[in-house]
Symmetry: C2
Amino acid sequence: MMEARHTSTSERRQAQLDALVDAAERRIATGGIKALKARDLAAEIGIALGGLYNLVPDLDELALRVSSRTLNRLGEALTATADRWPLATPDDAVNRLVAIAQAYLAFARGNLSLWRTLFELRLAGDAVLPEWAANDQLRLFHHIAEPLAVLLPQQTEAGRGLTARTLFAAVHGIVVIGLEDRLIAVPPQALNAQIEWLVRATCRGFST
Amino acid sequence: MMEARHTSTSERRQAQLDALVDAAERRIATGGIKALKARDLAAEIGIALGGLYNLVPDLDELALRVSSRTLNRLGEALTATADRWPLATPDDAVNRLVAIAQAYLAFARGNLSLWRTLFELRLAGDAVLPEWAANDQLRLFHHIAEPLAVLLPQQTEAGRGLTARTLFAAVHGIVVIGLEDRLIAVPPQALNAQIEWLVRATCRGFST
DNA sequence: GCCTCATGTGAACGGCGTTCAAAAAATGCC
DNA sequence: GGCATTTTTTGAACGCCGTTCACATGAGGC
């Protein structure tokens, strides 16, 4: 053991785990979740096949860790976009919502495989969602709920949360189907315009 | 060979293929696409393992055939719903669109695993979508485009087609995320109301 | 130096989709 | 019917997969 000085076992394990998640991320980004092979990963980070299971209980959890990273990068992208748009008037709110939706599309386009695995992951039977994953998601919804507070000041927090989820899901639907070449969908070059139209239309729906 | 009289080879092959797709459909409906195992299927329809590949080139195509059935049943469900709603006035059109969207949700709920495999199927690299599959999809969009013609008489056919795709994708997004227990989403009991709200809001967006 | 114990290893296991040489059945011909 | 030829069916075998576990390896305390 002991290749670097002052390196405890747990520190090395953490470094190996980081390398593993790095490798997993690269492989998913290149070849999708189907490209996550135990033997390839072990070879890439220089440990024996069985050693993987000292770092991670199974490959599903590895994909989950990659997804967590992706979700955080998505959050940063949305934050960066939101910060570029003022939020004083209702018009500002609508514009920011449009910008966020389009940033979502841009992120999905630019991180296609990683973004897809966010939703392809179906955990085995027991299906207990780790709480950190839930928190990651809640943080995303905040980006939508915030402008909604300007647009719908009279609504309750819970009501706006529901609206935020609905709006997100609708935009998400356009993006999923639009980026899926197998389906007859909104053509890729029209996606931005259609998303903008949908967001503006639903926002107009608030006032009537 | 020859167990039933006047049964040609090709007729028996067709019967076996039907039995195979039946079995595949049952297994997907029960356990999702992960439950589609070559050995189980062969045993269930009473042929040898290798015999499967006389009926179907691989399991992906089998899943595709099941998906075709599902798509057709979905089409029938939407047709039945559409037929129950008049289409004389713009108000009628909006109401019908809402009804169709909710019928889509109901179908997804009632055929969860089969409906999911419609979208989980990612065909290998070459990615040529069989034309019959494309036609199935086009027929579905017609159900949305038809009311849109009443709502947007001045628009071109192509423009309405684009709107139909966008509207479908948005509703689809709410349904996918809403029926996915892994994600924080619109709670199931609120799905109907949220879908109705979205459809009505976007329809109001047409006139302004 | 030596014992102890945590850590790392890779052969092995069970399961998967798919293939293919060989067996079996059907068909054609006398 | 009997034999040769072709078609169809069979299941053992292949290669790959995720995961496990008996064993080897090396570090830390004495």
